[in-house]
Amino acid sequence: MPTLPSLRDIYESEFRFVWRILARLGVREAEIPDAMQEVFLVVHRRLSEFDGKCRVSTWLYRICFNVASDRRRRAHVRYEIPVEDSDLERRLSQDDSPTEALATFDHLLESMEIDQRAVFVLFEVEGFNGPEIAEMLECPLPTVYSRLRLARAAFARAASRLQASMNRPLREAAV
């Protein structure tokens, strides 16, 4: 019987993955450590249930997804301060650092439903392929592709909105 990885093993090998996933699933940066702690404590609790039938990352992704979704739900109930295009564009105009580029990306992700967002991030950012994503999200492969299509469309729409709002103040500033 294969030995189960320890919590520490999983933590060490998947720390980066968990951080990236949570961040791109919309957990705010300041809350990521808390959310990660949640994730790994779930891992700790459920480690004995992990049967090795799927990859650790698959199993872990589901936990991350649940934690992130739950946090998003609560954040909506409690307080949600959406980043407006105008805020973003003001920041963009001052700074084109990677941090700001990432903020832009997250802002664009906000235009997607969470399920689409999950597919989009796994495919476009994390580089998983369709079948792998289908396993992670426990949905049929065609669903993965259709979510990806919808996600890309939302991404493109949000991007053109952003572009438009970036151009406007520039003109105003010139007047």
Binding site: R16, F40, V42, R45, T99, A101
Partner: protein, 349 residues
């Protein structure tokens, strides 16, 4: 069915390309890995209990006279009962009773409050006497939001009276997210993982153990033991521990002392995070001088080894680490100390 080509491989607006590339390149902050593990390790002994709740034996807790009491009962080999209550209710007047079976366990409660003082009670008990009386002294740490110190007393198997104190981040403001958890709102299982933050509405009583319970007045002054108090201590009876219960019940260490201990270690931890190993060692040395056998000594020792390694004081780190492992082989910190010593040994070869 085949995958479409990735966006990154397509022609993209520059702003989109740079944003996508930024996401692909995003890395967690370097310091987070270790820091977070420390926090997780701290939570584990408590989580181990909380998470296995409802599996085996039963635990009961009753809280009365609170507007928003919350009860959490847990059970593993060492069940523990956690009672938390918000509002300004006098904790001692809570008349909390807890009956727990099996060995003693420890718990910690982290509660936050908006304005009103939070009272939290934690209890842990054992089969033998099956009577654990609890009292809590809430310590309001701020007018607006404070973290309450949960103090409880569990008497079990002649081992430890166990209680918890949340030991970290005393000085930091309480995030809203945490404050919002106070009202006894049921949350997801994942959330409950966070041992000390778990609350369920008082209406949801967990099945009671058959043992009778009775409060003991001694509990009123029950001092606390840190969350880090490890299972190894619990499972390893010692003369110190067995006498501790009584001493503690009479109020030997005060909450002030506990807070002081906690603050020293917090400062040491902060110094370590800022790569100031020397400063960390000073705080740890101070803790050792003042609280050689303090409640948080396991935590201190774990930090000590870490700080010594960072400071390049290999021999001392090895000595201290080995001595810790000999004393507390099953401590939640042991795994990390072993890893530190291993890394340290390999890096100096």
């Amino acid at each position: 069915m085949t995958d479409p080509s990735r966006l990154l491989d397509q022609t993209l607006e520059p702003v989109l390309r740079s944003s996508l590339e930024a996401a692909i390149a995003a890395e967690p902050p370097a310091s987070l890995r270790e820091r977070l593990w420390d926090e997780i390790a701290l939570t584990l002994p408590a989580a181990g209990v909380l998470l296995d709740a409802t599996t085996s034996s039963s635990a009961t807790a009753t809280a009365t006279a609170t507007t928003a009491p919350a009860t959490l009962t847990t059970a593993t080999t060492a069940p523990a009962t956690l009672v938390t209550a918000t509002t300004a209710t006098d904790a001692v007047g809570l008349a909390s009773k807890a009956t727990v079976s099996a060995t003693t366990m420890l718990q910690a409660i982290e509660t936050t409050t908006r304005g009103a003082s939070t009272k939290a009670i934690l209890t842990a008990g054992s089969t033998t006497a099956a009577k654990a009386a609890v009292a809590a002294q809430g310590v309001g740490l701020g007018a607006i939001a404070g973290k309450a110190v949960a103090i409880g007393l569990g008497i079990g198997l002649g081992l430890n009276a166990v209680a918890g104190v949340v030991e970290r981040n005393w000085e930091t403001p309480v995030p809203t997210a945490k404050s919002a958890q106070i009202g006894g709102v049921p949350r997801t299982p994942e959330e409950q993982v966070k041992a000390v933050r778990v609350m369920t509405p008082s209406a949801e009583r967990v099945p009671m153990a058959s043992e009778p319970s009775a409060p003991t007045s001694a509990a009123a002054n029950a001092p606390a033991i840190s969350a880090q108090r490890s299972m190894s201590e619990v499972s390893k009876p010692s003369s110190v521990a067995s006498t501790e219960s009584l001493d503690e019940a009479r109020g030997a260490p005060t909450t002030d002392e506990l807070r002081d201990e906690s603050q020293l270690l917090s400062r040491a931890r902060e110094a370590l995070r800022d790569a100031r190993a020397g400063a960390a060692l000073e705080f740890l040395g101070e803790h050792e001088r003042r609280y050689s056998e303090g409640r948080l000594r396991q935590e201190r020792e774990a930090l000590y080894v870490q700080a010594l390694v960072r400071a390049g004081r290999t021999t001392e780190a090895q000595r201290r680490g080995k001595s810790f492992l000999a004393s507390f082989p099953m401590s939640p910190h042991s795994e990390r100390i072993r890893a530190l010593l291993r890394d340290d040994a390999s890096s100096t070869q």
